[in-house]
Subunit: 421 residues, 4 copies
Amino acid sequence: MTIPSHIIDMLHKVRARFQIEPIQERMLPSDAEFTTLRPVRKASVSSVEKYWNRLQETASPMDQNALADPLTMADPDVFSANIENFIGTVKMPVGVIGPLRINGLNAHGDFHVPMATTEAALVASYARGAYASTKSGGISTALLYEGVIRTPAFVFDDLLNAGMFVEWVVNEIEPLKAAAESTTQHGKLVSVEPVVDNNIVFLICRYTTGDAAGQNMVTIATNALCENIAARCPITMKAWYIEGNFSGDKKASFLGLVTGRGRKVSASVTLTAEVVEKTLGTSVQAMLDYGQVANLGSHLSGQLGAQAHFANGLAALYIATGQDAACVAESAIGITRMEPRGDDLFCSVTMPNILVGSVGGGTSLPSQSAGLNILGLKGAGKGSALAEVAAATCLCGEISIVAAIAAGHFTRAHENLARHR
Amino acid sequence: MTIPSHIIDMLHKVRARFQIEPIQERMLPSDAEFTTLRPVRKASVSSVEKYWNRLQETASPMDQNALADPLTMADPDVFSANIENFIGTVKMPVGVIGPLRINGLNAHGDFHVPMATTEAALVASYARGAYASTKSGGISTALLYEGVIRTPAFVFDDLLNAGMFVEWVVNEIEPLKAAAESTTQHGKLVSVEPVVDNNIVFLICRYTTGDAAGQNMVTIATNALCENIAARCPITMKAWYIEGNFSGDKKASFLGLVTGRGRKVSASVTLTAEVVEKTLGTSVQAMLDYGQVANLGSHLSGQLGAQAHFANGLAALYIATGQDAACVAESAIGITRMEPRGDDLFCSVTMPNILVGSVGGGTSLPSQSAGLNILGLKGAGKGSALAEVAAATCLCGEISIVAAIAAGHFTRAHENLARHR
Amino acid sequence: MTIPSHIIDMLHKVRARFQIEPIQERMLPSDAEFTTLRPVRKASVSSVEKYWNRLQETASPMDQNALADPLTMADPDVFSANIENFIGTVKMPVGVIGPLRINGLNAHGDFHVPMATTEAALVASYARGAYASTKSGGISTALLYEGVIRTPAFVFDDLLNAGMFVEWVVNEIEPLKAAAESTTQHGKLVSVEPVVDNNIVFLICRYTTGDAAGQNMVTIATNALCENIAARCPITMKAWYIEGNFSGDKKASFLGLVTGRGRKVSASVTLTAEVVEKTLGTSVQAMLDYGQVANLGSHLSGQLGAQAHFANGLAALYIATGQDAACVAESAIGITRMEPRGDDLFCSVTMPNILVGSVGGGTSLPSQSAGLNILGLKGAGKGSALAEVAAATCLCGEISIVAAIAAGHFTRAHENLARHR
Amino acid sequence: MTIPSHIIDMLHKVRARFQIEPIQERMLPSDAEFTTLRPVRKASVSSVEKYWNRLQETASPMDQNALADPLTMADPDVFSANIENFIGTVKMPVGVIGPLRINGLNAHGDFHVPMATTEAALVASYARGAYASTKSGGISTALLYEGVIRTPAFVFDDLLNAGMFVEWVVNEIEPLKAAAESTTQHGKLVSVEPVVDNNIVFLICRYTTGDAAGQNMVTIATNALCENIAARCPITMKAWYIEGNFSGDKKASFLGLVTGRGRKVSASVTLTAEVVEKTLGTSVQAMLDYGQVANLGSHLSGQLGAQAHFANGLAALYIATGQDAACVAESAIGITRMEPRGDDLFCSVTMPNILVGSVGGGTSLPSQSAGLNILGLKGAGKGSALAEVAAATCLCGEISIVAAIAAGHFTRAHENLARHR
């Protein structure tokens, strides 16, 4: 049995779907007629209706009503700056945890954190972690660093021209910085580092972005920088690209782990032994013991850092507060640590890639805005505090899941809460 | 200037937030009183109201109405199997792309794909990719493999006991498999592989999960397997854990890239030169040239595979169809390739970690169910087709963004569509 | 100072090497005449002499004598099966550590381990670890797994053909296995796993290789397998390659970490508190504390696993015993763990990629053969024991360096031992 | 067959080695007596003889003579600064390739490169690449960057103290730099970057190291920096460590790939179509086609960058020239690229982690010194040129192996050259 049996089983399953002849046709391109509806940038009742006329082949009026409900249809244009081809809204349930006490550099006070998810047990688990943390005096947080990067790429004939280009950029950095910053009120270009691979040069352009998450801001600023280079640089260039797929935008990368992208926050709490026992139903030693195994698992499976489920907390918070849910892919990396402190348990998370804003993106949409308001973190001057809330929330989730797995409760929680479906 | 200036700047920013004395207090634990509302598992009008009474310190009645709107409050219990501490629903706008022609092993036909996002330009970009693909005859797709893994860990005194444990498991695999499968109608344990690190053994338990994404299913099945081991295995065990943080659940990992987790799908299309020029506004050669640079960027920044923005398409589709948005963290890895085929452009994505289900999770909620119905992929027998749709959608996004960056349009699209906010 | 100053400094340094005009010429291709000496496969006194005639432009007679010394020149042909264009031998100093007590599945007894290096302090450090381990009763070792992989790649027109190819291979696996194994007396093809990326298929062919390291053996066997496929498979193939750069041969990879390549060995010892204090000059707690920090460092810098300096021990042992020193690149990954056991310190290494043989490669050369004889591990039936010795040796190095850093002695050791040069 | 059969086979193999009772004893610690010979730092004829008296249990007089040959024993003390417990020298055969024409920023001319290896076919393969490169006008090289890092770690009670520590370091950077540089004539501390993980701070200390590889130099300098901090810093520290296992010393890491460690060099050549056909026996298109597959393999197996076998060239050159062979583990990462240039083939390597010196380490030993002299690169002022030679040599190896695999010759070469053994 040289081929693993599950691979053979899978092959049979695939095979069962077709006889050679038909499937060949099935997978071939087809030039059957089709018509695409005209793209819609500004949503209106009638534009939505047009789409649903098209969708009625598969979807029912009930489906239409679930997305294009009367409240949504009262003013579809409210969503026009955030989406195209609008057909309604999906309703993601929101639960709340808290009060979560945060003793932070930027966030300070007792917060209720809205979390949007359809995964049963998630909110309950984070709520438990929040209770344990608050009971232990709250979570200390600090924004350690910020900087969103864009990494345009420039292609030359050879290494010599690439080198001369780097020299030119270094000498011209002030006007280039001015060009970039001319496009934005809040963005500042704080660092440019060239990375050369023979005839190709990437520029790691790092910006602070005020209270916005800032991905668009840095794209536009970097584009201006690139166009300024293209207009003035005397070195012959074969091509330039606004992004060399180097920045880690929307994807986990070791660059992000090593140098950070977005806001880097650390959060910690020392749970008392009593809280671990009474609230979490386990012991400090049991959590530490599991922590060793979990750390080993993270190494052996090739993760970026070591943590349990940052993605759960981040996705729930990002969605509830109008952040970009796709950024979970890059944000869900970092480090969770647990260590003894006398009889108590020190727990920390350090997250180098939190992408959040208290302005911009989806933050102005009504229900997302409400999410930020629940936190008291909508608008100017709140971006850093929001990042600290994100990290503190993730720490609650780490504490709760580690306790649950250490105590053997993990499965039971999911069984009880999810099996009703 | 041995310390990089942006680090010094950041330090000054942090420093400006406090004078040493006050901040020390600010970051210390506090034992001020607090009260947590009773956890709510079954949502009702009154349970929601109770939460909002608490939230009114920060949130306004308008905020309450945005989340706990009349339609949501008509029957809050509909969400009880998916969330705890329910306070309302966040409304994420949904746009639609299509028809997207898919010539797949499992998905076959012209699909309209609902995408939930607040990122302007995203839907327009994917729609463009869908148009180009369909114009070129559609996207071929195939589910190549499936298997959701859970990786319990077992701790022993020493290597010798760990080795004897592995032997016991191998000999007892049939009853263990039976124990695992007794908990589930659809889940099948298809492979168990031990990984030994001295006195610790991880078992990579791989399941097929029918039409569900299956994370809960495999947790419950694996728990039964572990309890069966714990009850019968004669080797002295120091501890066992349902998950050794090895499976890559909710996080990007090289294990997932190498062996797959969830459903592995490959999707491809050969775009005609004419479509590249007329629809995408660039040339085959320009896209290939950029592809080389983007590939280099992915290597140099330490990504898992090489792709542009799977996360955008996945997050939008997952949210619109009731999938677990946190799984974007693990799903957004894989490979995008572009190669010349005569004058035309072959484009493919291969995604080893798609976590979707046509049943279970959030798929039964009204608006999420509508999302699946738009695709015609709700319910039993549709899970594999849904995974193929996910990959085909991501391929559309890859095509569009690569074309945009190659043509220099990327920034303009974001500028035009997002700057209205 | 947007550009980091060390980058500017570096640029000035580079800049100082040229004025634009001259350097352009300096880096251009040149078509000046040159003559290459005829390649030599079978070394002789006269072939060596011819090379040195050529080398005398730069090298002196003393240099010639250092490499082509009289003992080497007594029979240059002894090296002919291991090198081409032979000009002499480099003399790497060898030190010995031990007795190192190994209580292993395959290696059993008190070993003296030869280590070849030019790095001062290395042998002394490993010797200290060996003494501490032996004093604590010796190191337990077990070969857990073995399998050298080759991963040929096959390219097809499209995914459909790739799928049909996989099916063909699965059905034909027995004759393919026979073809592969017909080339070798000791190699066995134990597993074949296909990995599909759209139209490209990699076959992970895993072999046991008897007592040889086996890289050539698996190359030749896999070539036979591929040629058998090429001769008989009816699916149209665009190309096939003996290696798709997937196997991790001669390079660190997560595939190797996850699935192993070569021999996987775990080794452990529990050091008594007394040994830690008296022999290592530190305390169990100090070593554990440093272990936590070192583990964090390994995560944050993106290493493959977590260990201190496997490469030192491996390179020294590989060179001294005729193994392939280039394999250090792939072998130097894995896990070192330290944990308290009562008052004592449990230490383990698990190394998934040890590439060693007690036959083949450089093992028959006189001084390399002597290295194996010192271990008592030359020839048939000793490959597994040799792998266990490698892991045990690395464990000694881990213990010693962790103790040195924990105690603050690390620098002093290097200062004292290396500064004489 | 839920457990893969090769795992079951392996288990049986392991099982066959013991009956439960005996093996338990076999793997237990033993307190049998043992005596370790006194460590020897200064080698002499009599110290070597003492060791061999001990080794005669396993090794024969012939073995002794192979290592402790008359030439080596003429003056064993010559090795005392490079090794402890000296018992002789291992003789690694050296082959030479060239002339290799290098048109470099630092290396310039036609070089003969000595390579020490016991892997048949390696020298022949690199020689072929050198011939093809020189025939095409030679390889352009440039040292792009240099900087060896050490990363001490500092542990505090909490995040607040960690933050205050970072501030203190930033303010005191000048005296700290002076303390570090006071220990070395050639080392310069060019950058310090703090990385904070809650209460733990790593300082990435980056040095230029003149013409030495510099690992000891930066250790000693960083130790002085740390001791200066420890003596003067008013923030309470729980511990500090000279190395937080963060620098990537002796191991592959993404930090090294992203930021470089040691010397970063890029090397390139454009091979004419004629050379590809006549010298390499394949075509430009065939090499490009294989390059695409090889790149995919590197992604899917989780390598650091994408290259074929840098480790072979590096190990052979490092050993032949007295470099630290263990550094192959960190140096063997980076990027190989091949692209069409009209009808010709552009090939480049960019290697961010070359660790070489023209002084220090093993460079003064007689036969290693001869290796450097063959290159004309011994002594002060040659370190950068040596790094360029290393990259150029690796490029030759990449060209040759890619051509061989593309042409289907790879296996044959190994078969012919290695099978004589």
